[in-house]
């Protein structure tokens, strides 16, 4: 075989034993979530109606590491450690001196990074005696992951799927049903929240969250499960970055820039937080680049304010970049990125200047994704297509500058259920939908009363 390795594989024993909790490393005191009724800091008691104590403890953990339960690692073993690839063919196609690596999470049964958090969430709920989980899903990645995890831990599962994606990606629904979940198109008529939003038939993640939270709040046997944004979800995903760090070591390189897509932020956090810890501790100099859709540009255009996590206003107020909790993003194919806010931890790091953000329209993202597929084989999901676009731009900039630059991409999932987007792109039908500043301004004007973020 040639001397050019393209894949770096860790042994099963190198599946991380702990998750990385970045909280104690963050500069300054983090702004707390606020109770939506009182405006006071929300504590564990605010969360017990819909979350089990095991997850609440992880949500507020202050230790730098949190041990991964054996039962969770046992399930991780089915697809972890995930491979790291060197994109040698893409490098040659771009004629760049940059070295491009990608950490691929599409090998999980659900096809993305999402099971990394769905499994510990199902585990902790099962342990707490919960019978059923309710959740939202955009493109279907998170809903699939939770359906899978519930199947493995013998829990019932109900999923509110954003209308636009339900129509674009019907086979994600089939997959969830195959694993035994019940799936509703959101906004639905099964909840008060859904009925109140029937004038937005394409739906949004914010609306779907409201529906799932309502179901969990009303039924004592049902808990809610969130696929991104919250601290414990970001925490669970850090297995990605820890493995990637070990694999970059196998390759004998350090990333100069770590690139990922951001919807709610869990994928980006999972890859980057272990690397960001090293930067915060003065052990490395690394750039971090968050790629988001131009149609829903929270990090590049949003306001840094307290806002609800959901559209109807049932969740605690979170400190984050937001386009307004009732902003309904245009129905771009990257359904997993259609969220009005972002993980507070991630937003704080953007605010602090540790993470750069860039927004990309659909056509340039899919152009990069097709180029990637034809050179590297794997067909990326529409979400990581945005990260690939950003990485390609980095590689082209490195060529301009004549410098070797090491780029690490988070390839969060495959596009097997998103081929209608590729159809549209290849046929020239894909729209670069405009972000509406006016819609955002109107939504921001409806933000709840809250103090400025410290």
């Amino acid at each position: 075989m040639s001397d050019e390795p393209v894949k770096y594989v860790l042994p099963e024993s190198d599946i991380p034993t702990h998750w990385v909790n970045l909280m104690p490393d963050l500069p300054g005191d983090p702004s707390p979530p606020l109770n939506p009724g009182t405006g006071e800091p929300a504590g564990p008691d605010d969360l017990t109606p819909i979350f089990p104590m095991g997850l609440i403890q992880q949500e507020v953990a202050t230790d730098p590491e949190v041990e991964i339960p054996d039962e969770v690692r046992d399930v991780y073993k089915r697809w972890r450690p995930s491979p790291l690839f060197r994109a040698r063919r893409l490098e040659r196609a771009l004629d760049t001196p940059a070295h491009i690596y990608y950490k691929y999470e599409g090998g999980s049964p659900a096809g993305s990074h999402k099971p990394n958090s769905a499994v510990p969430q199902a585990y902790e709920n099962k342990k707490a005696g919960v019978r059923r989980l309710a959740t939202e899903t955009g493109a279907g990645q998170w809903g699939s992951a939770l359906a899978l995890a519930c199947s493995l831990f013998d829990l019932d599962c109900v999923v509110y799927m954003v209308g636009a994606s339900y129509d674009q990606k019907p086979y994600r629904r089939s997959m969830m049903e195959t694993w035994g979940a019940t799936v509703y198109r959101s906004p639905s008529d099964t909840t008060d929240a859904g009925k109140s939003q029937s004038s937005h038939p394409t739906g949004s993640l914010g609306i779907a969250i409201s529906e799932a939270v309502e179901v969990a709040a009303k039924d004592p046997d049902t808990n809610y499960s969130l696929g991104s944004v919250l601290n414990h979800v970001c925490l669970h995903q850090t297995v990605i970055g820890q493995e990637a760090m070990a694999q970059m070591g196998m390759a004998g390189e350090e990333p100069d820039v770590v690139v990922g897509c951001v919807g709610g932020g869990s994928n980006f956090a999972g890859l980057s937080f272990p690397f960001i810890r090293r930067v915060l501790r003065g052990e490395a100099k690394t750039r971090f680049l968050a790629a988001e859709p131009a149609a829903c540009p929270t990090l590049t255009r949003g306001a840094y304010r307290y806002d609800f996590g959901d559209t109807v206003g049932m969740t605690p107020l979170l400190p984050m970049y937001t386009l307004g909790h009732d902003f309904v993003p245009p129905p771009v194919h990257a359904g997993g990125l259609r969220y009005h806010g972002d993980a507070p931890m991630l937003c704080g790091l953007v605010k602090a200047g540790l993470i750069e953000a860039r927004a990309y329209a659909q056509n340039p993202a899919f152009e990069a994704a097709v180029n990637f597929a034809r050179n590297e084989g794997i067909v990326p999901g529409p979400e990581p297509a945005h990260a690939i676009r950003a990485a390609v731009d980095e590689a082209l900039a490195a060529r301009e500058a004549g410098e070797e630059r090491v780029v690490l991409i988070g390839l969060s999932g495959h596009g097997h259920f998103d081929m209608s987007a590729y159809d549209d792109y290849l046929a020239g039908r894909l729209e670069d939908i405009e972000f509406s500043e006016a819609d955002m301004e109107a939504a921001l004007a409806r933000l709840p009363e809250a103090p400025a973020i410290a």
Copy 2:
């Protein structure tokens, strides 16, 4: 972690260096393919118009092993060695003393075992200076694999996709197009063969083969590429069985029965031939079980006769179990199993009693596949669903008999592009389409003149 391993992973260095050629081990002299014009044994010269010499040499090879070119192993490294899993959760769900293992080929970028042969075929054609490959595809697994391989070796690719699958699985077409291939619905109006079969709008693999062979025969820059049946295709797939044998060794077990699905036979051959060699050499006692669809039951109901590989009658006559080259199988979801014949090497082993064959209807196959998905996570393709059904029956028989039985399944691919079949199954809409003995008898009456198989 628990002491119950569920996954067995080989290092990259254990990707086989050679393919297993079972030809010299077969009992008796193999019956040769015949020239369709003269009825004389077909030699290499009959194949040069549509195949490169490198593949023809593999087709007629008599050495027990054939070296894998470095350039092919370099591509295999992207997803090989593939994992072997122990189906511990499925075993518990079935309450069986049987030990069930599955070798999973769905981790390739095309989602099945097919790239194992597409890559060496593209490589040999590229080396021979060919510019374009033409092929057929049923459910789209083979067409995807060849589109991928052509993309990696910078060849053009044209795919004739069986009409029934083209309609059922539109996103397989999108995937092939994403990799740069041109895809036609078969029967098409782009070939004489297609025009002659326009009265069979659902198409068949036999018709699609006729179209692709015609294109290759007429254009000197285009070669034909077949995804199953021929010796060299079965040869390429033996990386599966060699790896599985090493992995069963890691698990400290010997399979009592090896189970796979059979369409043209390459998946089954790939897993079983290395194990069959040991049986033929008196080194092991293993049962081999071929699972096929009841709607297209070549091995269980076909005639053991010389017949064309394609519908129109352009290929050499092959000694095989056949339902007649112009038999059009009902449009079952397992599109990859809708073929009127089977690999001659495999048929010879069935005839000799070394391989048992069983036919399964769609509903029992999908019942087993859903049970598998809910316990093991992976959603199987409709084709290996038949193998899972057969393996579940073996496990239930072992329970009845109170015996430990080690079952090894070839899980040839995932079902991400076949979710409409799961939709139909879960909604109770899936038909157990009857095989038409009358249609087969009529087709057999139209078999070409040829001697009996020796």
